[in-house]
Structure formats: structure tokens, C-alpha cells
């Protein structure tokens, strides 16, 4: 099977089966989103400081998009952004 085909299958199964690790709910994710974003931009270990966040972001595209939007906005606000 080609690499592209393998990747397609892996992505598909990943989407269907979701993360295996314990994860936050969408509500918990939203509550932590601002802290997680600032930790990420500060280069801190955001995943260790907010357990369950990474797994949720892998399983929930909408929450992940919210995070990417916040990171992009904060980056554009920063002096180097």
C-alpha cells in the first residue's frame, strides 16, 4: 500500500476512533483555552500543565480550531507578530 494511502487510512481511523488518552470535555477545554494558549506561546510545557487538553484537541476539530485562532490572534498582537 502506498504511503499516501496509508496516511489516508490512518487519518480516517484516527478521526473515527479518536484519542486513546483521557481527555477534557469541550467545556473544560474552553475554560482552559486562554491559559493553554499563553503557556504554549511562552514555550512552557502546556500539555503537562493542562492534562487531557492535547488528547481533546486531537479528538475535537472545533476546539482545536478555536485554539489555532487564539494562537494566531495572540501572535498577531505580539510585538514580533
Amino acid at each position: 500500500m502506498s504511503d499516501a494511502s496509508n496516511r489516508h487510512r490512518e487519518r480516517l481511523l484516527g478521526r473515527v476512533l479518536g484519542p486513546s488518552a483521557p481527555e477534557l470535555s469541550c467545556e473544560e477545554c474552553f475554560a482552559e483555552l486562554d491559559r493553554y494558549a499563553e503557556l504554549t506561546l511562552a514555550g512552557s510545557d502546556a500539555d503537562a500543565r493542562v492534562p487531557g487538553m492535547r488528547a481533546h484537541l486531537e479528538g475535537c476539530p472545533a476546539c482545536n480550531e478555536d485554539l489555532q485562532a487564539l494562537l494566531a490572534l495572540l501572535a498577531s498582537d505580539s510585538p514580533s507578530g
Binding site: 480516517l12 473515527v16 476512533l17 479518536g18 470535555s25 485562532a69 490572534l73 495572540l74
Partner: protein
């Protein structure tokens, strides 16, 4: 603007989340938003302007998926997002824990509102795809002239578990969101639900599928290259 109908807080909330430990800018925001009269009105107007800028930023980032909207329609969406975010923020002000800057905390409400509205607008006239498309994608993933037998078996088992182990609602949510790519906020609107409630349904469905596949002998995460 939403501020015209805003009811000013009449008393300080009981929980004062470590206000002394806040950065100066965040502390100033809280003090101004919690006072009354013209000073509070000015702070609310300033906050709305901040939220509007955030909403415009996000809708501009998503302009590709909103290509059908004229500039003024997109800006109207930004205004609605800022209005709704402002209402949410003022209602949740006592929940601000000071674990980020106040502006970062406020931004996420505007970005959330703008994101939800953008996804729903982009899908406004689109039907949620029927399940046939999803099964085709699943079948395609397991079919290859050079594919391994166990890949095909895994996909077949997955489909069997989806059909047999899930409730009708779990199957509908899982297929729409993970196989047909329907944004969860769009599905939530069509089903009269919320993102959080549908994600819980999706989460429960995924756990059932994982358990079912493991019962059938598939090592979903531990097999690395050997399995998925």
C-alpha cells in the same frame, strides 16, 4: 450594540479570583468593568471594540470558507459575534480566574462566537451528507490491491461495530462528524443540541468502538506499524 441593554452588575461577586496577583492591565479591566456609571460604560465599549477586532480577525482568517459573503455581511457577522461574546463575558466575569491576561480570556469568547457563526454560515444551504458517502470512504480506506489483509479486516470490523454497537444517535453523530466532515457546531444546530453534548455522544461512541475492536482481537494503539 449589546451594551444598550446591558444590566450593570449591582454588587461585587463573592469570588474575587486572586485579583491582587493579576497583571496590572487585567486588574484595571476588572476594576473598570465592575464599577458603575460612565466609567463602566466606557470600559464596556472598549471591550466591545476589542472583541470586534478579534471577531474580524477570525472571519478574515476564514474568508475562504465564507467566500459567498459580501464584505458587509461578513462585518455583520463580526458585529453579532462581538455582541454575543460581550454578553457572555459580562455574565461570566466572576469566573475569570486570572490564569491568563484578561484580554486573552476575553478574546476566546469572540473567537468562539465567530468560529461557530462562520461554520454555520458556510453550511447554511448544505445538506448534511447521507451515510452512504461515509461507508464509501471507509470501504475505500480498507481496499487496496497491495493492502494488508489485517487492514481490510480492521476496516470491516470497524464498520460492523459502527452498525451493531452504537445507538442510532451515536452512529449519526459519529458518521456525520468523523466520516462526512460535518462541523460539530453545524450538527449541533441541526439537532438542537450543543457542541459539548454532541462531543460527549461522540466520545461515548468512540469508546464503544475501541472496546468492540479490542474484543475482536485488534490492538488499536499498541500495534504501531503492525496495526493502524
Amino acid at each position: 450594540m449589546a451594551t444598550a441593554t446591558m444590566t450593570p452588575p449591582t454588587e461585587m461577586p463573592q469570588a474575587q479570583p486572586r485579583i491582587a496577583s493579576l497583571d496590572e492591565e487585567s486588574r484595571t479591566w476588572l476594576v473598570r468593568l465592575r464599577c458603575s456609571g460612565p466609567a463602566q460604560d466606557a470600559a464596556v465599549a472598549e471591550l466591545h471594540a476589542l472583541l470586534l477586532r478579534a471577531a474580524r480577525f477570525e472571519l478574515n482568517r476564514r474568508r475562504g470558507e465564507l467566500a459567498q459573503l459580501r464584505g458587509e455581511e461578513r462585518d455583520d457577522l463580526a458585529q453579532q459575534s462581538a455582541d454575543d461574546a460581550l454578553m457572555a463575558i459580562l455574565a461570566k466575569l466572576p469566573d475569570f480566574r486570572g490564569e491568563s491576561r484578561f484580554t486573552t480570556w476575553a478574546y476566546k469568547f469572540a473567537l468562539f462566537e465567530a468560529g461557530v457563526k462562520a461554520r454555520r454560515r458556510a453550511w447554511q444551504r448544505r445538506e448534511v451528507p447521507v451515510e452512504d458517502k461515509a461507508w464509501a470512504a471507509l470501504a475505500e480506506a480498507g481496499r487496496s490491491p497491495h493492502g494488508r489483509v489485517e487492514d481490510s479486516e480492521l476496516i470491516s470490523a470497524l464498520r460492523a461495530e459502527i452498525e451493531a454497537a452504537l445507538s442510532e444517535r451515536q452512529r449519526r453523530v459519529l458518521v456525520a462528524v468523523t466520516l462526512n466532515g460535518v462541523p460539530i457546531d453545524v450538527l449541533a444546530e441541526r439537532l438542537g443540541s450543543t457542541r459539548g453534548a454532541l462531543y460527549k455522544t461522540l466520545h461515548d461512541a468512540r469508546r464503544k468502538l475501541r472496546a468492540g475492536l479490542e474484543d475482536r482481537g485488534f490492538d488499536i494503539d499498541g500495534g504501531g506499524e503492525e496495526e493502524i
